[in-house]
């Protein structure tokens, strides 16, 4: 079952490539179909396990599979899904469909290859969300990079080769640092217990000196913070997002960034609970700075895609803040925020992409007066801009509010500053609408409005955001069990730590 979730897009990608010769229509439908089946599978799983796993059995996962792979190194194919992964996989399939739709008319060259890369990126991302073996995790982590690089490098806009190389370099260096961390914890654990394994559940609770833990944790964070992105590792993001084709931007903003957050949530904090506690104040501060910095810079952009890209930096700041506040409310907020940002940023990129396809520019200074020309585009854009600024009733509000509520218990000062982000985000969101849609239509644009296909996609996304905003309980409920588990692990590890620090430091190596 879990293997299928990854295999279907992989196979779909190969088929899409093979059917390239049969006409451009084929790859699009195949990729749509592959994501559709995947989404159906996840939904099925969701219906079966709406929330609590039956606690009597004390199972941590909705579904789990473990088969040996490279046994001599203690590597297994260990996939498992809990509420957190389930929601994120669902988001992946949903956005996969959206990205395919967004590329429907935009991509006209090498269509088969494009969809091959698209499906493989998403398959890699789903793999990241499902792996519980650190080697496998690293495997998928790297796997999703290459097709993403090609998406930007081959189908991107003007400055694509610069952007794609920058993207690749940042993420690759981060990934390699994580590889060091993975091997570090592998050997630390192996030397202590004699069991050399990459298995997540075995490695949990590995004892190590605070300094070792801090170093290893930082090497993990290097990869995750680059992806998230947190200041000062965000430099790749505006370029990559701006230059990528629309489908690529949707995947980048909607999914790739979430893998960073997921990594911190699933691996960095539970594996190194002590070190996480140690750096939490700093990480939260970085998060808050990211919120404000992203919002202020977004306000200063004239390139519409760049603007949306910077709002991602701002929104992911909330995620970082919430994770390191590390309490139930904040974590729930993080989950909702990830889902909502995935959808709203994806939608904004699709809208900007469709504008660019029609206007051949992303420059807000040349836009204006588009509302009367294309009311459907305008309406959708206004909706997602409002979602992005955190209007109550939309999902993003719930996410950000919960994060702030959780942070309030940890640090009032940071909460106050972070709340300032709301103000700036209101400014940039309204400014964007103002400049692009209202005012005089100086260049005399005459463009076709959203097609039925795009309207369909937008409707789905609007409904999703409204659902998350008005009735987020099912989502919180689903993720709840997974969040409980993670928190339990960390609580326990921290409790152990306080009991016996002297023995522990002597035991290292």
């Amino acid at each position: 079952m879990l293997v299928w979730l990854i295999l279907i897009p992989l196979v779909g990608g190969v088929l899409a490539w093979l059917f390239d010769r049969a006409g451009n229509r084929w790859p699009r439908w195949i990729s749509l179909f592959a994501f559709g089946i995947d989404l159906a599978l996840v939904l099925l799983l969701w219906v079966e396990h709406p929330g609590e796993v039956d606690l009597t059995a004390n199972r941590a996962w909705f579904a789990e599979i473990q088969v040996p792979w490279i046994s001599s190194m203690g590597i297994t194919i260990h996939l498992a899904i809990d509420g957190i992964s389930l929601l994120l996989v669902m988001l992946s399939c949903f956005l996969g469909i959206m990205a395919t739709i967004a590329s429907w008319t935009e991509i006209r060259e090498r269509v088969g290859l494009f969809h091959f890369n698209l499906t493989w990126t998403v398959a890699g991302i789903i793999g990241v969300f499902l792996s519980l073996d650190l080697f496998l995790f690293y495997f998928f982590w790297e796997l999703m990079l290459i097709p993403m690089y090609f998406l930007i490098a081959l189908w991107g806009h003007e400055n694509r080769s610069y952007a794609s190389v920058k993207f690749f370099l940042f993420t690759q260096v981060g990934g390699l640092a994580m590889l060091l961390g993975i091997l570090g914890i592998y050997f630390v654990h192996g030397r202590q217990t004699g069991i050399y394994t990459f298995d997540y559940s075995e490695l949990l609770g590995t004892r190590m000196s605070p300094n070792t833990a801090l170093l290893l944790m930082l090497s993990f964070l290097a990869a995750f913070l680059v992806k998230l992105p947190a200041l000062p590792f965000h430099a790749w993001l505006p370029d990559a997002h701006t230059e990528a084709p629309t489908g690529g931007s949707v995947i980048l903003a909607g999914l790739l960034l979430k893998t960073g957050a997921y990594g911190i949530l699933r691996f960095a904090v539970p594996l190194f609970p002590g070190a996480a506690l140690q750096i939490a104040p700093w990480a939260m501060m970085v998060g808050v700075i990211g919120i404000l910095y992203g919002a202020v810079l977004a306000f200063a952009q004239t390139d519409l895609k760049r603007l949306v890209a910077y709002t991602s930096v701002s929104h992911m700041g909330f995620v970082l803040l919430g994770i390191f506040a590390w309490n139930e409310l904040a974590l729930q907020g993080v989950i909702i925020q990830m889902l909502c940002h995935g959808i709203s940023a994806g939608a904004l990129f699709m809208l900007v992409g469709s504008l660019q396809e029609r206007l051949r520019t992303r420059d807000t200074r040349r836009m204006g007066g588009l509302w009367p020309v294309a009311p459907r585009t305008g309406g959708a854009m206004l909706f997602f801009a409002l979602a992005s600024l955190g209007l109550p009733g939309m999902g993003n509000f719930v996410g950000e509010f919960l994060v702030l509520l959780g942070t309030y218990r940890v640090s009032i000062l940071l909460t106050v500053i972070a709340a300032g982000g709301f103000i700036v985000s209101t400014v940039y969101a309204l400014w964007m609408i103002q400049r692009a849609l209202y005012g005089p239509n100086e260049e005399g644009w005459r463009i076709p409005d959203l097609s039925m296909r795009e309207v369909g996609a937008m409707t789905a996304m609007v409904l999703a955001i409204l659902w998350l905003g008005l009735y987020p309980r099912p989502f919180i409920h689903t993720a709840g069990h997974g969040l409980d588990q993670i928190q339990k692990i960390v609580r326990q590890a921290r409790a152990d730590r306080t009991i016996m620090p002297p023995i522990e430091s002597a035991r290292v190596r």
């Binding site: 792979w69 001599s72 690749f168 050997f187």
Partner: protein, 475 residues
Amino acid sequence: MSIPLMPILPLIVVSATSVVIMLVVACYRDHRLTHVLTLTGLALAFATLPAISSQVPAQVTPLFLIDGYALFYSGLILLSALVVALLSYDYLEGRREDPAEYYILLLIATLGSMVLVAASHFASFFLGLEVLSISLYALIAYDRRPLMAEAAVKYLVLAAASASFLLFGMALVYAQLGTMSFSEIASKLASAGATDLVCVVATVMIIVGIGFKLALVPFHMWTPDVYQGAPAPITAFIATVSKGAVFALLLRYFSGMDLHAYGPLFAIFTIIAIVSMFAGNLLALFQTNIKRLLAYSSIAHLGYLLVAFLSSGPLRVSAVTFYLVAYFVMTLGAFGVVTVLSGKENDADRIEEYHGLFTRRPGLAGIFTVMLLSLAGMPLTAGFIGKFYLVAAGVGSMLWLLVITLLVNSAIGLFYYLRVIAVMFVREPEPGVTLPARLLTGGFVLAALFVILIWLGVYPTPLLEMIQAIKLGAG
């Protein structure tokens, strides 16, 4: 004293094949016949390996130690030679009338490499090295084009110089310790202590000799020119078989010694490794010639291998061996593509010839892409598992400086591999570049290499188990 012949049967088969071809050629020259004979000989030699595996380890005279390690590397060398021979047929057809000598030389070079991996004595070490080198001089210049002559002369001069260093080093070791057998050298060195200056100097000279063959910085100057000048299949042979055999010998020679105990040697190797990685990758960034680019990248790859070589513990031999296998497959694959694309006049080594290859030859472009991604260490390919193994070996021995250098360099390496890949997909085909007609053998070989590469990247367990079963004797 009778010498047991069974364990050295593969060596005998390969030498016999070259003799047979020589005799046949004297009566009847035919490219196809020679080709088939060569392939048969190599395949026969390979087929003897399983039969021998029950008799190892066997010391055959003081010169050869046939153990699992030697057999494994012999097998690797034979298969690679087979691939090179297969690729050579179409390449040579139409270039030369009757390239019989080419195959004879190829067989002899193979023989030299097999001697090297089984050598346990200075005499066999030097013998193997010279047999390999001398046949390579002729092979590099085989097509008699100016560039080739230049490459061959360069290789000749530098190889001769390095051989003299090597000999001098050997002589010093013999003068000091009174033995030429690897295992005795190791034990006597251990008792003599690490401080003996003459021994250190001698070992450094041996390292110089080996370093030339492996093209480690600062002994790498010949590499780009020879890679560029030599016929593409021979370049593949030099990059894989010749370097692999010498590296296997290096590992065996130092296997009896604890490198960490010899401070200066360890430092020298560390510096060589770091400089090789950086120089190889940084210089590769500026290349516009595919063969030169691969030359510099191979310098860096040998540097990566040194990281595992310098580590200690159970992972050492298996990491080196696995990476070498992966390196053989991807290098043969990459040069295989170059070979297949080469026209009658020149090798396809200018990057312009790869512009838009994807639209014209999607299969070849796809294989080349995967080979390059494997060289860059991307997942789903053998290069990923191999690099992971190297890093694991390094981290296991806490060689942080080397490991971090390796990681930084993999990031640098990505740049130029990706550039070549992007060129194949993005650019429009350069006008005036003609592609050769469809080549069946070459395509088949490349497809096989591709399958092996992916298979090793996805399910390496069988090979890993095989490698871990290998016992390495010091001879």
